[in-house]
C-alpha cells in the first residue's frame, strides 16, 4: 500500500510539474522514496531481461541514452533516466514514471545513468547485471574530493554486486583497474588519431602501484595505450576495437573491422558509441546492423546541438577540464570563421570551485578562425581573467546570454559556438529557442 501511495504521489507531482512547465526529473522520486523507501528495490524486480548501469565522468548521459535507443530500435521496452537525473531520486523518478497506477511495471531493460559518487547507495536498491564505466576525469572536486576517492567508491559499489559484468574503457587505466578480477569487456581506440595535447593527465600514475605510467600513444587526458614499467599493469586486450578513424563529418571508423559512418561530431563520441556496442555484447544482444541501431538517436540538448539561425549556433555542454578540452578541439576542427561564447557558472551542480578553469587549454580557443570571444555566466570575471592570462582579451563580457548571442549573430562570421557548463545549459537553450522563435533564420 505504501508503494502504491508512493507511486501515485510521484505521478501526481510529475503531472503537476508538467502543468507548471518543469521537467520533474528528480523531485517526484524524492517524495516517493520518503513514503516508500523500498520503491526502487521493488520495481526493479519487474525488469525482464537486464539492468544496465552507466557511470563515468564524461559521456554517461550520451552513452546511456544511445544504449536505450539502440535497444528500443530492436523492439524492446526500455526504462531510462533519460534526463540525466542520476542520483537515487532520479532513478526512483524514472521507475515510478514507468510504473502503472496499479504498481506494475512492464520493461525488458532498464538503462540507468548513475552518478559515480552515488553508486554505492544506489546499488543497495538496484542490482545491475551490467555496468559500463566510461572514464574517470577530474570533476567537481569540491563535491567528491579527489579522483582516488571516486575510484574507491566505485570499487565498493562493484563489490556489492557479485557477478556484475563490467564494460570498461580499455584506454583508461583508471577504468581498467576495476576489471582486474572479473572478466570484463574492454573497448578502445587502437591507433593514434589526435595531435598530442598538453592537457591534464590525471591518471598518469599507475592505479595499481603508483609508479609513473608510460604511453605508446595517447588520445587525451590519460586515455591511450598505457603501460606501467614498474608493475606491468597495461592496456588490456581490447574486445571492441576501433581503427581507421576519420574525424571529418560524417565520422568514419571500423569496429572490429566493420566499417561505420556516423553523423556525430567529436572524437569522444567514438567512445560513447563503442561503450554501447560493448554493453550490447554484455547482455547478449546482437550487434548486427549496429549503425542502423544508432540512427534513431536524438542527442540530448547541449551535445553539439545545432540551432538553425541565419548562421548555425552550436551549443556544447562541458562539465570539467577533459570535457572542455575536447569541446575546444572539436571547435578547432571547424575551419569556418566563428564567434565563441563561453558561460561559466558555479552553482552546486557545477561545483562551487572554479579552479579547474586553469586546467583547461583555453589558449587554444584563439586560432586564425576566431572572430569574437564573449564571456558570460556567474563567474564571468574568473573566465575572463583566465583568458587574459592566456593573452586573449574577451571582446565582450556580459551577464546577459541573449545579448551575447545577438551580438554574435550580427557579426560577419559563419558559425557561432556556445560552450557552457552545467547549470548554464538549460537557460542558454531557453534563450536560443526563444530567439529562434523571434528571429527565425532572418
Amino acid at each position: 500500500m505504501r508503494k502504491l501511495l508512493a507511486i501515485w504521489v510521484g505521478k501526481l507531482l510529475t503531472l503537476a510539474g508538467h502543468i507548471i512547465g518543469k521537467k520533474s526529473s528528480s523531485s517526484p522520486g524524492e517524495y516517493a522514496l520518503r513514503i516508500c523507501p523500498d520503491l526502487v528495490r521493488d520495481l526493479n524486480k519487474y525488469i525482464k531481461k537486464s539492468v544496465i548501469v552507466t557511470c563515468g565522468t564524461n559521456g554517461k548521459t550520451t552513452t546511456n541514452n544511445l544504449l536505450c535507443s539502440a535497444l528500443e530500435a530492436k523492439g524492446y521496452k526500455v526504462l531510462c533516466n533519460r534526463l540525466g537525473a542520476n542520483m537515487l531520486n532520479g532513478v526512483a523518478t524514472a521507475f515510478l514514471q514507468a510504473a502503472s497506477i496499479t504498481g506494475k511495471l512492464e520493461a525488458d531493460y532498464a538503462c540507468l545513468e548513475i552518478d559515480e559518487a552515488y553508486t554505492r547507495i544506489v546499488f543497495d536498491y538496484v542490482k545491475p547485471d551490467v555496468m559500463v564505466i566510461t572514464n574517470l576525469f577530474r570533476d567537481q572536486l569540491d563535491r567528491y574530493g579527489e579522483i582516488d576517492i571516486t575510484s574507491n567508491i566505485l570499487k565498493e559499489a562493484i563489490a556489492k554486486v557479485p557477478g556484475i559484468k563490467l564494460v570498461l574503457n580499455g584506454d583508461d587505466p583508471l577504468c581498467v583497474q576495476f576489471g582486474r578480477e572479473a572478466g570484463a569487456i574492454y573497448y578502445g581506440i587502437s591507433e593514434k588519431v589526435l595531435p598530442q595535447l598538453d592537457d591534464t593527465k590525471e591518471g598518469r600514475f599507475c592505479p595499481v602501484c603508483g609508479a609513473q605510467q608510460k604511453f605508446n600513444y595517447y588520445h587525451y587526458s590519460q586515455l591511450g595505450d598505457f603501460y606501467c614499467p614498474s608493475c606491468g599493469f597495461k592496456r588490456p586486450e581490447i574486445d571492441v576495437e576501433v581503427k581507421n578513424v576519420s574525424l571529418k563529418t560524417p565520422m568514419r571508423f571500423t569496429i572490429n573491422g566493420q566499417p561505420m559512418e556516423i553523423n556525430y561530431k567529436g572524437f569522444y563520441n567514438i567512445y560513447n558509441i563503442i561503450a554501447v556496442y560493448g554493453a550490447l555484447e554484455a547482455v547478449g544482444e546482437s550487434t548486427d546492423g549496429f549503425e542502423g541501431l544508432l540512427a534513431g538517436y536524438k542527442p540530448q540538448i547541449g551535445r553539439m546541438q545545432e540551432f538553425a539561425f541565419k548562421k548555425p549556433v552550436i551549443l556544447s555542454l562541458s562539465k570539467n577540464p577533459a570535457g572542455f578540452n575536447q569541446a575546444i578541439s572539436t571547435v578547432n576542427t571547424d575551419d569556418r570563421k566563428k564567434d565563441v561564447i563561453i558561460a561559466i557558472n558555479d552553482l552546486a551542480n557545477d561545483g562551487r570551485d572554479v579552479s579547474w578553469l586553469w586546467d583547461v587549454d583555453f589558449d587554444k580557443v584563439k586560432d586564425e578562425n576566431l572572430n569574437t570571444l564573449t564571456t558570460t555566466g556567474i563567474r564571468k570575471w574568473d573566465i575572463s581573467l583566465r583568458f587574459k592570462y592566456a593573452d586573449i582579451m574577451p571582446d565582450f563580457i556580459t551577464s546577459d546570454m541573449k545579448e551575447a548571442v545577438l551580438k554574435a549573430l550580427d557579426t560577419d562570421s559563419e558559425v557561432v559556438y556556445v560552450l557552457v557548463n552545467y547549470t548554464a545549459l538549460f537557460p542558454t537553450e531557453g534563450v536560443l529557442n526563444e530567439l529562434l522563435k523571434e528571429r527565425g533564420n532572418e
Binding site: 600514475f205 609513473q212 562551487r352
Partner: protein
C-alpha cells in the same frame, strides 16, 4: 632583469589548476619587461640545484601523490631550509603548505614534513570546503582582501607563526580558528589553492617584489599594471559575503 621559478613536481602536485599561479607570476613579470624562466623539478629529475632559483613553488596533490613527493623532498630538506633561511621566496599551497611543517598526522599514519615552519597538521573530521576571504594587514588598505577557495581535510596549527591573513569568511587553518596560512621570511604558505594569484594581483606582486629585491639590491618597486579585471574578479567574491 629576470626571475627563475622552480615548480616542484608539476607532474604530481597539480590538483587544482596550480598552474594558474605560475602563469600569473610569469605574465606579471613579462608584462613589465622582466624575464621569467620556469623550471620543473619532477620525480624523474636528479640533482636539486637552488643556487640560481629565486622562487620555489610547491602546489597541492592528493594524499597518495603527496606521499610520493614527500619521500623525494625529504632528501632535499637541508637545501630547502637553507634557501628559506637565506631569504629565498617560497610559495606553498594546500598540500605543499602542509609539507612545510613538522608532520601531517593522518588517520592511520603520520607523514614526516620538511620542518621548515614550526607548524603541524592533523587530519580533522570532514573537509573544509568553500570560498574564503582574508584580510591581510601587510597589504595596503585598499587591496588587503585576499579571496580564494579552500578544500582541505587537514587542520594546521601554526604555533607562534604569523598568519597570511585574518579570516573574514570561511575556515582557514582549522575550523573557525580565525586565521589562514603562514608568512615567514619570504615564505607564503596557504590553503587557498589553485589560481590564488590571478585574483589577488597585489599578493602576486608582493611575492615578486620580495624575490626581485633579494636578487637585485637596487630594485625598489614594480611598475603598476592595469588590474581592473583582476580587481573586479576579487571584489565579486568579496561582495558575495558582505
Amino acid at each position: 632583469m629576470d626571475i627563475k621559478i622552480m615548480h616542484l613536481f608539476p607532474d604530481l602536485l597539480n590538483l587544482y589548476g596550480d598552474k594558474g599561479n605560475i602563469e600569473c607570476m610569469r605574465k606579471r613579470l613579462n608584462w613589465r619587461g622582466i624575464g621569467c624562466e620556469v623550471v620543473p623539478f619532477t620525480t624523474e629529475d636528479s640533482g636539486f640545484e637552488l643556487s640560481d632559483v629565486d622562487i620555489v613553488f610547491l602546489g597541492g596533490g592528493s594524499d597518495r601523490e603527496q606521499k610520493i613527493v614527500c619521500r623525494s623532498l625529504l632528501e632535499h630538506k637541508a637545501e630547502l631550509k637553507d634557501f628559506v633561511e637565506n631569504g629565498g621566496s617560497l610559495v606553498a599551497v594546500c598540500g605543499g603548505y602542509q609539507l612545510l611543517g613538522k608532520y601531517y598526522k593522518l588517520k592511520d599514519e603520520t607523514i614526516e614534513g620538511l620542518d621548515i615552519l614550526d607548524i603541524y597538521t592533523e587530519q580533522g573530521k570532514g573537509r573544509l570546503i568553500g570560498n574564503i576571504v582574508l584580510e591581510a594587514d601587510f597589504l595596503k588598505e585598499s587591496d588587503k582582501l585576499i579571496v580564494g577557495f579552500e578544500n582541505h581535510g587537514g587542520r594546521t596549527y601554526i604555533n607562534g607563526h604569523k598568519p597570511l591573513g585574518k579570516v573574514i569568511y570561511g575556515n582557514g587553518n582549522s575550523d573557525k580558528c580565525g586565521c589562514e596560512g603562514v608568512m615567514y621570511k619570504n615564505v607564503v604558505a596557504t590553503y587557498l589553492h589553485g589560481p590564488l594569484l590571478p585574483k589577488n594581483p597585489v599578493l602576486c606582486d608582493y611575492i615578486l617584489t620580495n624575490a626581485l629585491k633579494k636578487k637585485y639590491s637596487d630594485f625598489t618597486e614594480l611598475v603598476p599594471l592595469d588590474d581592473r579585471l583582476e580587481k573586479t574578479a576579487n571584489e565579486y567574491i568579496v561582495n558575495r559575503f558582505k
